[in-house]
């Protein structure tokens, strides 16, 4: 008995050591760029789940790499929605040095004085960020945020189950796909599909337009199979559902599991988002936070993250990296980095609230409550 136990123990120990040695990453160049002056201090990072290369399946463990280079201990925690993150910060009692919220939430955080300015002169790698994502509406002077990931929502469908639909949000209302289609299970994204179909702006403050979008969603409810968030992975991968909207980056991950899945951007336009690295005003270790931001923008770190997460990167050294292009393949590359002019001709020249491709803006409290109530009515309908 004891011998059995011992051999089991040895196997276990071997496994653990082997696994931890599986990945070894050495880069002398980075080594001299990062000082160890702050070694021994701690850095609290608050990020979306599954949103950093974490060392699984032989990829780079970004946080561990940073710890090795600088000696700073990274405490990494995750959130599942901008709103959760916001209420955590708002309620106080937490201390984070790095957060990664989305565009409209950054706008709200800035207006409520909850972000610290980032000293860009000390983030030398900021030069790599594509001009397209600099000076966006929520942070026009680019003082509070450094873009981390970008993406757009599109429709994923299973080509083995259904023929290629018209490239329209109307596909989610099509009786042909009764009990086979999915939609978002959160108000903002759910309404987006109806708003775009009806030709409204996503950021309209006209309550009538929200009402009409709600009526549209109610009409489509009998066609839908269900409202989902991350459950969409399983449902589309297994063929349980045939069509549903989600983020382009997630489509790439799903396609690896089920080759029959295809993707398109609806002609009526869609939502575009930027998730950016910010420093909240509760920061304790500002210097380490700057170091961390700069580290995330190191070309190879950004590349490892882009490959792991699957979302589009705003980092020019990643976008223009031929190896990355090859890694993704032509189809995926064109989905992540679409030719916007070909997809939505003339769209970028229009004033923002008339564009087909829109960012979410932080809406006034009254509008927010209005659509949250409408969403409840939709669910109670």
């Amino acid at each position: 008995m004891f011998k059995k136990f011992l051999s089991l123990l040895i196997v276990l120990v071997l496994c653990v050591t082997l696994c931890s040695c599986g990945y070894e990453y050495q880069n002398p160049e980075l080594q001299c760029k990062y000082t160890r002056e702050l070694a021994g201090t701690e850095l609290n990072v608050y990020n979306w789940g599954e949103y950093i290369s974490d060392g699984s399946e032989g990829c780079m463990d970004v946080n561990r790499e940073f710890e090795r280079l600088t000696g700073i201990k990274v405490n990494y925690t995750t959130f599942e929605s901008n709103e959760t993150m916001y209420s955590q910060l708002k309620n106080g009692g937490v201390s984070y040095d790095i957060i990664i919220p989305s565009d409209y939430m950054i706008g709200r955080l800035i207006s409520e004085d909850m972000l610290e300015k980032i000293d860009m002169s000390r983030v030398s790698n900021y030069q790599y960020i594509s001009d397209k994502y600099k000076g966006l509406y929520f942070d026009p002077a680019q003082e509070y945020s450094v873009p981390y990931n970008v993406g757009m929502v599109g429709i994923i469908y299973n080509s083995a189950l259904i023929d290629e639909p018209q490239h329209s949000w109307g596909a989610l209302w099509d009786e042909k796909y009764k009990n086979m289609s999915l939609n978002f299970n959160n108000p903002r994204d759910g309404f987006m599909t109806a708003q775009k179909l009806l030709g409204f702006s996503l950021n309209t403050t006209n309550e009538k337009e929200w009402d009409m979008a709600c009526e549209k969603l109610k009409a489509g409810k009998s066609v839908l199979q269900s409202y989902v968030m991350d459950e969409i992975y399983g449902k589309l991968e297994t063929g349980e559902a045939a069509i549903g909207p989600y983020y382009a980056g997630d489509y790439i991950v799903m396609k690896e599991v089920n080759e029959d899945l295809e993707f398109f951007y609806p002609q009526e336009g869609t939502n575009i988002f930027v998730d950016s690295v910010c420093i909240p005003s509760c920061v304790k270790n500002y210097d380490a936070a700057l170091l961390y931001i700069n580290f995330l923008l190191e070309p190879e770190i950004a590349l490892a993250n882009a490959e792991y997460i699957g979302y589009a990167s705003p980092h020019t050294a990643v976008i223009n990296n031929p190896d990355y292009h090859e890694y993704l393949g032509e189809e995926f590359y064109n989905i992540l980095y679409p030719d916007m002019e070909a997809l939505y001709p003339g769209d970028s020249a229009l004033p923002e609230n008339e564009r087909k491709v829109e960012y979410y803006h932080d809406l006034p409290e009254s509008v927010r409550m209005h659509y949250e109530n409408l969403w409840l009515d939709l669910k109670l309908y």
């Binding site: 199979q225 269900s226 297994t238 063929g239 409550m369 949250e372 669910k379 109670l380």
Partner: protein, 273 residues
């Protein structure tokens, strides 16, 4: 007996404190939120909004009633059958009934998705014979099935306990007085097991009517039960805490009334016996 000794008070003190902090205080907070608006002023406006939730309330009640009836119909014969087994077999069967309860109920519910899905086990099996796929998941039936599966142990156990307490000599006396086996069940076992049935019904009906996760996972997330509505409101933000508390309060009062009625029913029967 009437006067509680100092010692027994000391012994009960930890739980009394626990109950006060985690049962009484939350109830008071809920009541406070239910009768105030966002800024803390007294209002009954929250109750005016209830009409919006009538479908959710109705669905919850209907599903819970159906689930309770099915559970009772399945559990009663099962409990009777158990009491007829050898003691060792009774323990074994009891174990088997309890076993799923050691698993988290979220996981148990999730596993039904794999079974009922269009590409799930049942439909794959039927597919072998060229049948289907049948629409099993995302139907009211799936939600009720989930409730029955999750809560049936709470029905079997109290009925079984009540039945196994019935003195065998009562049954023998009934036979001596000319009862056949059906009339023994009807006139001796049924009345004597009624307290178990009453507590079983309460223990299944209460979680069924307030459930929220099962309907989201097995019902396709399209029709809200009252539990789902409360969950959505609390998750959406502090500005909805008041309405959500009002809904919770109404649900609680409904459950309380049902329980009182059931208990009254049970007491009367006991007097008859």
């Amino acid at each position: 007996m009437n006067k509680k000794s100092f010692g027994s008070r000391i012994v009960a003190a930890p739980y009394m404190v626990w109950a006060a902090i985690f049962i009484v205080v939350p109830l008071l907070i809920m009541a406070y939120f239910a009768f105030t608006d966002g800024s803390g002023n007294f209002t009954v406006d929250n109750f005016m909004q209830i009409a919006r939730f009538k479908k959710a309330f109705a669905l919850s009640i209907i599903y819970a009633v159906i689930a309770t009836i099915i559970t009772l119909l399945l559990a009663y014969p099962m409990a009777y059958y158990m009491t007829k087994l050898k003691i060792s077999s009774q323990r074994m069967v009891m174990m088997l009934i309890m076993l799923p309860m050691w698993m988290n109920f979220l996981i148990r519910t999730y596993s039904w998705i794999t079974i009922l899905a269009n590409t799930g086990l049942i439909n794959k099996f039927l597919g072998l014979f060229g049948i289907g796929p049948l629409q099993l998941i995302n139907t009211p039936g799936a939600v009720i099935l989930g409730m029955v599966y999750d809560f049936i142990p709470y029905m079997i156990l109290p009925i079984y306990t009540a039945m196994s307490k019935i003195d065998n000599s009562l049954l023998e006396a009934a036979s001596d007085l000319g009862s056949n086996s059906w009339s023994r069940i009807r006139r001796v076992i049924m009345p004597l097991s009624l307290p178990g049935v009453i507590s079983g019904i309460t223990m299944v009906f209460v979680p069924s009517i307030s459930t929220f996760y099962i309907s989201q996972k097995l019902g396709g997330n399209k029709d809200m039960l009252i539990g789902d509505a409360i969950e959505y409101l609390f998750n959406t933000g502090p500005q909805y805490y008041n309405v959500a508390s009002t809904l919770s309060l109404i649900l609680m009062v409904m459950i309380l009334v049902c329980t009182l009625i059931m208990n009254r029913f049970g007491d009367d029967e006991e007097v008859v016996v």
